[in-house]
Symmetry: C2
Subunit: 484 residues, 2 copies
């Protein structure tokens, strides 16, 4: 349901949605296949240290915990109420929540707007707003943060710790990303599946993520915006980079999005969304992989302040893939002689005579970790260099592990210079391990060149957005004035 702008009481209460001291599960179940059981199981598996109160009309205990017939029977304060009841029973439960004075409610139940039951959804949302009880959902898959060991819902994974806040309207895509987080060491600070977003909207989640200390970038999956103006304002006021993916752009997707999360895209063209995102200062990505890849880079790296990117590689072919992809994206690599003639001379120390100091800088298939280290240090130290990419190709003489360790040590030493540094390493198991280790040390690393290039270009795009932030804010203020 529409909001004019992000509500402060909602933003304040979101702290209890991600870091509650206690959770009441209304609709707690002893049946292991039910959400009312899964949520308790998930909380325990994630190592949640707060108090869990099962609420169940009949059972004395659920999952070994004392159960309560009504949330109002719980003798202590409840921060978060998780509602896992059939749709028809949700309204009464929310009334109980208001009576109890819970800080925030999360409703996982489906059977609302997405199946045409919009009236009931609006009714409960209105009620919650009147009573200032923020409601997340309904039709929500889960919410949590690895920094609070908190996984609340039916998400089988608690993600790896890291810088990206993931705000997803879709549950399935959230699940996929959280699975990838574990598998690919993609670090996440907090996550939520917004579902039908009857009450709490994107704008409030963005505002909360902006103040959440572990979050360095915000990734938002959107099926439709109910409140584009509130979204824009929240984004423009946000000091962290925001990446969005907006689906339901296709003809058939409009129908599918409605069936999925009751998302209303009729009358809003893809181009209008493009314009909105541009005016909001957020970066739109088209594919899921680009969406995640660029969020990771934005969460780990400073913006790329200029076009002087140098690329160091031991593989000529890898370098060529990079050249082409940079140019395809409209950010062509510059020759090293045009970036820094001095660097062109100095970097020769770290390559054999048949290496090529063009850019990509081909330090040859025989490159050792010392050569990589020397070249990287030289590039970091050169004032004309804005960003650095390293590509490692596993030839028979390449010690991928030693190169990885060298690079991590040098990155640690120089990261405060504010130059983005991105790695690419495609190959077998040793490359996969390298990528995981690099990511664990805050270096965005990818297994294909186009991913690495996309990531570096995203850092440049974000830098340009930052430079234009004032203009975007002025423009938004004028529009707001005109609309009055």
């Amino acid at each position: 349901m529409e909001v004019k702008e992000a509500r402060q009481y909602v933003i304040d209460r979101l702290e209890y949605a991600f870091k509650p001291r206690s959770v009441a599960v209304i609709g707690a179940s002893r049946n292991e296949t039910k959400v009312g059981f899964k949520v308790i199981q998930g909380l325990r598996r994630s190592g949640y240290e707060g108090i869990i109160y099962p609420v169940n009309l009949k059972a004395e205990t659920v999952a070994g915990l004392e159960a309560f017939k009504n949330i109002n029977d719980i003798p202590d304060e409840v921060d978060l109420a998780f509602v896992a009841l059939p749709a028809v029973a949700v309204f009464d439960a929310l009334k109980d929540c208001v009576k109890k004075g819970v800080k925030i409610a999360v409703v996982s139940s489906s059977g609302f707007g997405e199946v045409g039951n919009k009236d009931l959804q609006t009714e409960i949302a209105m009620y919650c707003r009147e009573n200032e009880l923020p409601l997340i959902g309904p039709n929500l898959v889960g919410i949590g943060t690895p920094y609070h060991d908190f996984n609340c819902g039916f998400v089988p994974y608690l993600p790896n710790k890291g810088p990206v806040a993931l705000i997803s309207q879709s549950g399935s895509n959230l699940l996929a990303a959280l699975g990838s987080s574990q598998l690919e060491h993609f670090g996440i600070s907090m996550f939520v599946g917004l579902g039908n977003k009857a009450d709490v909207d994107f704008c409030e989640m963005i505002k909360y993520a902006d103040q959440e200390p572990h979050t360095k970038s915000i990734a938002v999956y959107i099926e439709a915006l109910d409140s584009p103006e509130a979204f824009k304002k929240a984004c423009l006021e946000c000091e962290k980079p925001i990446t969005v993916i907006k689906v339901g752009a296709s003809k058939i997707g409009v129908k599918a999005a409605f069936a999925h999360t009751a998302s209303e895209n009729r009358g809003h063209s893809n181009e209008e969304y493009d314009k909105l995102f541009e005016e909001s200062g957020v970066m739109r990505e088209n594919t899921w992989m680009e969406f995640l890849d660029t969020s990771l880079a934005l969460g780990n790296c400073p913006p790329l302040r200029g076009d002087n990117v140098v690329m160091i590689t031991n593989g000529g072919g890898a370098g060529l893939l990079a050249c082409d992809h940079f140019e395809r994206l409209g950010y062509p690599l510059k020759e090293l002689k045009d970036i820094s003639p001095e660097l062109r001379t100095n970097i020769r120390k770290y390559m054999p005579p048949f290496g090529s100091p063009l850019n990509p800088i081909d330090i040859s298939g025989t490159a050792t970790s010392d050569m990589y280290g020397g070249a990287l240090r030289t590039a970091y130290r050169d004032e004309n260099v804005d960003g650095i990419m390293i590509s490692v190709c596993p030839t028979a003489v390449t010690d991928v592990e030693a190169i990885t360790d060298t690079v991590i040590a040098i990155h640690k030493q120089y990261k405060n210079l504010g130059k983005p540094f991105i790695m690419e390493c495609q190959g077998g198991h040793e490359c996969r391990e390298a990528i995981m280790k690099l990511r664990d040390h805050g270096i965005p690393a990818y297994s294909t060149m186009e991913q690495a290039v996309n990531a570096m270009v995203a850092l440049r795009r974000y830098s340009r957005i930052m430079y234009h932030k004032e203009e975007l804010l002025d423009q938004a203020a004028k529009e707001a004035e005109n609309n009055k």
Copy 2:
């Protein structure tokens, strides 16, 4: 060096490059860091069962094998001579090979065209042509096939067995792909790094791959074509699908490609290559990932004969990503009612009432392996369905392993119907394992939706090429006539 068209003696001899009974390593070395040692080590590690003859002027034995001062001292026939000598010594070695009557020579040595030493390269190529000794390389990283346990060069990986022939001008990208083959269960039938391609050219490799029985699709990485007409003819005559990636398209890439494999791209625009590839009936991909992903699909699946693709998913968000990406590529999904009203009715049996039989067919987050199996079988059996995609999202109740096994069994039963079937499964470790298992069973499976959609669309693009093959052949014949 240019060839007018693929030479039959070269194609015939290529059998000895991939499946030799014996290999002489000229420049075999006792120094473990040298190519002359690595190649023998690689052959042994791969389990090569042919005979290895080290050739070394001074050593009595190399790597425990009897060494010969000259290839002509070897008492038996030699199929393949692998030359790992400094550039200056290569010509003499090739003369010895001619004298010995070896079937084919592979030269790994660098120091030729790529460093400006084009004259020597031309000289040896001319010599080899005069004497009908096919030469692969120089500046080559390796050649081999897992079906002959043959890994000859300095490639640290023998790839997994499978349908894709990988012909790469770049060594580093070949290495990356072979590493991925092991890591991602990407099946390869044969591989070669062509390097400077002084003599043997793409056209001959393509012709050989076309007749190689394990090969079902051909993936070609190109930095520049010396013989575009011969390439076109070979491609048009090839009965297997061909995917190409052509780099060096960017401004800086032209220079980098020359420094890498002496590739001459000046005067040949990217658009001219686009035209050539279209006229050749091959599919050009832009990114490395698309190049590999589509090759895998083309190697495992029949072409997609019509636009009636149905997608079955347990995740609405995943379905939406698919809708958008299909439409973005110009191949929009059709609604199920327009594909088969009967299927729309029948498939309802395999979803809960809140599922959505639109297309994507959302069988809901609670979908079991039986529901997936029933839906898949129903879609296979429907005559109006041309291709099927399945997406599995790991909700808390999803048994990814059971779904995988069900799907593999049904695919086995129905694969002879000639309908492409592609899977997507993004999430944690269970999804990764599912992808590997599916690939091992000949089902192209991917971890993101855009990859799966790209793959399905590639099968449609290939189908259209097949329908136009006659026209392309006629056109090429007319051009050839005009050029006379």
